[in-house]
């Protein structure tokens, strides 16, 4: 028996288990592309429209971080500017989740132990997971190319765009294979992989935002960070702008390298264990652990710490950019209108618009944290220790309330941290510490009500439909994000965008916060939360 025996069988099994999940990811991603194509055509019908828009945004770091560096004014070029990095981001998440699902998550449910005892080689399960991810990315790449061709944007650009996105996905699959071997568990592996994707997105964002604008006034020489990121590489393939297929060697090299590392790790690791052997811990519990709240905190603090590092670092970087942003805007006074249109928050002060846009990203991150934190009770209930805990004198409301308290407290702490980090760095580099500290903290904290709504939705889903809660809560988060952050990009009517809680967050500091909408958001969040808590109290445990 070779180390790979059974790979084909395991791959078929993985594809079968994913027969709904992967097609949903792929179709969702393609749908995003398809909607963007028609919205872009409508908003920027002529070459002049596109030239004008791209010339304006070239000087706006806030927009460039979220989109990518403009490459040319053709329809295809405009489209790549708008959507390519998001497609690569989605391909990344699809890939890392799939790889972790079929490696560590399988081990944790004892599934691969059963398989491991059958005729299955040592590397079979890892290989099957990687093959599954590669197949999914190949299909995604093909569909992207087909949609582009079908929309009349054919040629080398269509193929390059599809392959660039697929290659980004594949390289993240490789990274996920490594963390899946190294991490302590599936939860940690997913967290590390997600952090890697987030960093890759931001790193290339800074590479785009702070490039040199060329003589024509809109294309740019990217700053070097863009070359450090698989998502940056996808841009550098330059679909519809003199395709450079050789850049694809980078993601493929990364994939090959990380696959080699992951195989080496897999050869040295025991099933179910991390690479670092678990050390002995305390023989008895500290006082602080001995309550439902203490337990919830203990279970959640690792996740929170991870997010705190990410959010704090992001906020500090944002704060440090103030000088660069001001400089970039100095000669670009008439850009305001276009910035507002593309998503800067409807203000004439471009520096404030930049900070508002960045805080909106941080707000979305914090909302993501809240959803993740509130899925913990579900994990505790489904095949976890919740059954034994709820058979002690711990009331259901107290138990779920503890997790909720940690999630909401954690979200508040994260936003406070973001405001302080951004304000401190801003104030220390530009002077006027007090004002900037207050402004940034305010801008961060107004994000809280939107996160609370998602907390409410997650609790409601958990209380009413526990078995579907994880899917529903993440779907709510994704829809909110797409409608709120990409609503303008997709040309959606305001009424549809208003479904997203993110659409109701005032763009502080660019505009003043008003209490009305924020209080309304909090009220909606409370309504969801109360409904969820009440039905959790009345329902069967879904073990």
């Amino acid at each position: 028996m070779s180390a790979f025996t059974g790979t084909a069988r395991l791959t078929r099994l993985a594809l079968r288990r994913d027969r709904i999940q992967l097609p949903l990811w792929i179709l969702g991603t393609v749908l995003l592309l398809w909607t963007t194509i028609s919205a872009t055509r409508e908003q920027y019908p002529t070459e002049e429209d596109r030239l004008q828009a791209l010339t304006t945004v070239a000087g706006s770091p806030a927009v460039l971080i979220l989109r990518s560096a403009p490459t040319n004014t053709s329809e295809g070029g405009m489209l790549v500017f708008q959507i390519l990095t998001f497609l690569a981001l989605l391909a990344g998440f699809m890939s890392t989740l799939a790889v972790v699902r079929h490696t560590r998550q399988n081990e944790e449910t004892g599934r691969s132990e059963m398989l491991g005892a059958m005729v299955v080689g040592r590397y079979a399960s890892l290989t099957a997971a990687l093959v599954t991810a590669v197949i999914a990315n190949a299909v995604l790449a093909m569909l992207i190319a087909l949609v582009l061709v079908g929309s009349g944007l054919g040629g080398a650009g269509a193929v390059a765009a599809g392959v660039a996105v697929g290659a980004a996905g594949v390289s993240f699959a490789g990274l996920a294979a490594v963390v899946a071997q190294a991490a302590q568990g599936a939860r940690a592996a997913n967290g590390m992989a997600a952090a890697a994707i987030g960093i890759a997105f931001l790193v290339r964002g800074f590479g785009d935002a702070f490039g040199e604008i060329q003589a024509n006034g809109y294309t740019m020489d990217n700053a070097w960070p863009v070359w450090l990121s698989p998502i940056g590489w996808a841009e550098q393939v330059r679909p519809y702008a003199g395709e450079r297929l050789w850049v694809l060697a980078l993601p493929l090299l990364l994939f090959a390298g990380s696959v080699a590392v992951s195989f080496a790790l897999a050869g040295r690791r025991d099933v179910g264990m991390g690479l670092i052997a678990a050390r002995p811990g305390p023989r008895s519990a500290k006082r602080a652990l001995l309550s439902p709240l203490g337990l919830a905190w203990r279970l959640q603090r690792g996740t929170l710490l991870g997010w705190a590092i990410g959010v704090g670092a992001m906020a500090a970087v944002v704060g440090s950019l103030s000088g660069t942003v001001e400089e970039a805007y100095r000669d670009n006074a008439k850009a305001a209108e276009t910035i507002a249109k593309i998503g800067g928050g409807g203000t004439s002060n471009l520096v404030d618009a930049f900070f508002a846009a960045m805080m909106a990203i941080i707000g979305a991150m914090v909302a993501g944290y809240v959803v993740q934190a509130l899925m913990r009770p579900r994990a505790e209930e489904a095949g976890g220790p919740a059954e034994a805990v709820l058979a002690t004198a711990t009331g259901r409301l107290r138990w779920l309330g503890s997790h909720l308290a940690v999630a909401v407290g954690g979200a508040t702490a994260l936003l406070l941290l973001a405001g302080l980090c951004a304000g401190l760095v801003y104030g220390l580099t530009e002077g006027d510490l007090g004002t900037h500290l207050a402004d940034m903290t305010g801008a961060a904290l107004v994000q809280l009500p939107a996160a609370l709504i998602l907390a409410g939705v997650a609790i409601a889903a958990y209380g009413l439909l526990p078995r579907l809660a994880v899917g529903l809560a993440w779907a709510a988060f994704t829809v909110s994000l797409v409608l709120g952050q990409l609503g303008d990009l997709l040309g959606l009517p305001q009424a549809v965008r208003d479904i997203s809680p993110f659409s109701h967050v005032p763009a502080v500091p660019a505009v003043d916060a008003t209490a009305g909408p924020l209080l309304a958001l909090v009220a909606v969040a409370l309504a969801f939360g109360i409904a969820g808590m009440a039905s959790f109290r009345r329902r069967n445990l879904a073990l």
């Binding site: 008895s284 652990l289 279970l299 095949g383 002690t392």
Partner: protein, 299 residues
């Protein structure tokens, strides 16, 4: 004697499937009650209803004089539970988990906890993710017995324990029984039930099929007899209560319904009994009959 658990006509459905179909169960205070039945019979479901983790769809259930659903939190202070599937927090140590469960139940006897950890030879400083199945089971058992409560509800508590630890477990049950505590013990291990239980209830397909002391239940089963007589044995096959008889002139081997033992022996004396050995029915045979019937019934 008062009743610690009384259940009558309990119904629980999962969608169209009826997991509990008018189940009855009575556990007296101070007794160790065996709760038996084939896989999927509804033992864990009954226990979860009693713990207020699942809502009953019909019937009555009283636990320590309270309502399992409405008074859940109050009742849980007075009982300890070992679940059928022990799941712990992978990154908490066994010692932390034991302390946590006991504290959430309302308090821990430190000395007793340390003594139990010692007796079960558990290393409490290991992270739960590194425990073997048996050791995870020990954590749950220690956490339960570390609390001094009125009622212990144990769902297959010894699955995965080695024979040495099984013996320690049986000691623990006897100790709490001596202190007048009540134990509901779901188990598939006959020797354990035989050694510990005062009374047992056997359920299948969500219904109680037998309930009583072991002696009473033995009465319902068969004794194996092998006999040697002076005169050739005749007509044994027609005697009521005799099964699977093999007669070889003056020797015979057969099973007899324990309730019919008396008149079968009378019948045998006609042929002048010279030697007789009898094997009492094992609990195992008793269960085999009930579980076997279930299989036959299912077909």
């Amino acid at each position: 004697m008062t009743t610690a658990i009384s259940v009558s006509g309990l119904v629980k459905t999962f969608g169209r499937a009826r997991a509990l179909d008018e189940l009855d169960l009575a556990v007296e205070t101070g007794e160790v009650h065996g709760f038996l039945g084939p896989n999927g019979a509804g033992k864990s479901t009954t226990i979860r209803v009693l713990l207020g983790l699942l809502r009953a769809d019909g019937g009555e259930a009283t636990l320590l004089g309270g309502h399992p659903w409405r008074d859940a939190v109050e009742l849980h202070r007075r009982l300890a539970y070992v679940p059928g599937d022990v799941n712990l927090w992978p990154n908490l140590t066994g010692g932390e988990a034991i302390d946590l469960f006991a504290a959430l139940r309302g308090g821990i006897d430190k000395r007793r906890r340390d003594e139990l950890v010692e007796r079960f030879q558990l290393d409490p400083s290991k992270k739960a993710r590194t425990y073997s199945k048996g050791n995870r089971q020990k954590v749950a058992v220690v956490a339960a017995f570390a609390s001094d409560v009125e009622l212990y509800i144990l769902d297959e508590p010894t699955s995965g324990l080695d024979p040495l630890m099984e013996a320690v477990f049986q000691e623990c049950v006897r100790e709490v029984k001596e202190r007048g505590r009540t134990v509901l013990l779901s188990s598939h291990i006959f020797s354990e039930v035989e050694a510990l239980c005062d009374r047992v209830s056997i359920i299948r397909q969500g219904r109680t099929v037998e309930s009583g002391t072991l002696a009473e239940l033995r009465h319902l089963t068969r004794t194996s007899i092998s006999v040697e007589t002076t005169h050739p044995i005749a007509g044994l096959l027609e005697v009521s209560g005799v099964h699977d008889a093999q007669v070889d002139t003056t020797r015979a081997k057969f099973d007899v319904d324990t309730s019919e033992l008396d008149h079968v022996l009378r019948y045998l004396t006609r042929f002048e009994v010279r030697t007789l050995t009898s094997a009492p029915p094992s609990l195992e045979e008793l269960f085999m009959r009930h579980y076997g019937d279930e299989l036959a019934g299912a077909r």
